[in-house]
Structures are given as C-alpha cells and as structure tokens.
C-alpha cells in the first residue's frame, strides 16, 4: 500500500502525516508513506487545497486533517 501526504510542510500537513503513521501502525498494514511538497505535483492530482491524503493513487481527502480512526477506516477500504 502506498500513502501520500500532500502539503507544503505546514502544521496541518505534519499532523495528517503523524495521524497516517499512527493509523498504519494501529491497523498493522504495510505501507510506504511519502510526502509530496511540490505544488505542481499536488495540482496535477487536481488537489486545490492542502493537506491531502492519497491512498494507492486515489485522493481520499482534501483540505482536512483526518483523525487516526478516519484514516484507519480509509485503510480498510471505507470512504
């Protein structure tokens, strides 16, 4: 599983990354977590607000800091 955190490095982006890491640990899944800070790359995905969360190439949230539980639900395949 590949998880990408979209954001330029602000506090909310960092919080989303921390929550994603905690969710991965909690769910016991194997995942690569990558931070994308390049605005052009973020906009290529159609993301107009940060932070953003991408799981296996699909943008799951934009402009929000999902909680650990919300990310865990996403990892299970929920929306």
């Amino acid at each position: 599983m590949k998880i990408q955190i979209l954001g330029t490095g602000c506090p909310k982006c960092k919080q989303l990354e921390a929550n994603a890491r905690e969710a991965v640990t909690k769910m016991g899944v194997e995942a690569d977590i990558e931070k994308i800070t390049d605005i052009d790359q973020i906009m290529e995905l159609g993301v107009m607000m940060t932070p953003g969360l991408v799981i296996d190439g699909e943008v799951r949230s934009v402009g929000k800091v999902l909680t650990v539980d919300q990310i865990a639900a996403q990892l299970k395949g929920g929306k």
């Binding site: 954001g7 909310k12 107009m48 940060t50 932070p51 929000k64």
Partner: protein, 124 residues
C-alpha cells in the same frame, strides 16, 4: 491552490468551473472563468475532470466553500455534472447576461462586463 492550514490563512475557498463549450457562449464562459481566476475571485479548475470522476478534483469540489459553475447556455452541462455528482454549486449562465448563443460577438468589453457582474453576484 489554497492551503487550509493555519499558516495559509482562513480565506474562503471558491472554485470556478467553466463549460468551455464550442459556441460563443462557451468561449465567454471560459474567458470569464479565467478572468475571475486571474483577478483572484476564485481558483479555476477543470470541469471535465469532475465529470471524469478524477478523485482529486471530486474531493476538492466536496471540500470547497463554494463551487461556481459558469455555463454558456441553458443546456447547463456544468450544472448537470454537479447535480450528477451530488456536489453543491452555484450556477451562472452566460445567456442570462445579454449574450445570444451563436450571435453575440465576444469582445473584451463583453468579457469585462460579464466578469464584473458575476464577481459581484459571487460576493453578494
């Protein structure tokens, strides 16, 4: 691109979409959307990508404070796309601004006038 982060400000996020159809009205819709984007009234993004269900565009539309759909004519392709996705939006139609489909010439003056009227309506 807007940042919802505490460092990025709390301004409202307005996304602007244009039908960009083939007729003069579609051309005007596109030009108005670009001018609104240029003037900072909103961030223009791709209506076609919303129609194509591209996840980043769909999630951005869902998270925006306001989605402004600029349609050229009453056929309302932009409106129908947003209705189909169940995403809230506000629609403006170029033919409501004294422009006749396939007849009115789209001059810089027309673009300026319609952009100004829509900008005022967006902020009302």
């Amino acid at each position: 691109m807007a940042c919802s982060c505490s460092c990025g400000g709390d301004t409202s996020i307005k996304l602007v979409y244009s039908c960009a159809g083939a007729a003069n009205t579609g051309y005007l819709a596109d030009q108005v959307a670009r001018k609104l984007n240029h003037e900072g009234a909103g961030d223009m993004t791709c209506l076609a990508a919303v129609a194509a269900d591209l996840s980043g565009f769909i999630e951005s539309a869902k998270s925006a404070d306001k989605n402004v759909v600029i349609d050229g004519c009453p056929v309302g392709c932009g409106k129908k796309i947003f209705e189909a996705k169940g995403i809230p939006f506000t629609q403006y139609v170029m033919t409501d601004y004294g422009v006749e489909k396939k007849k009115t010439g789209i001059t810089p003056e027309v673009i300026d006038r319609v952009t100004g009227e829509i900008c005022t309506a967006m902020n009302a």
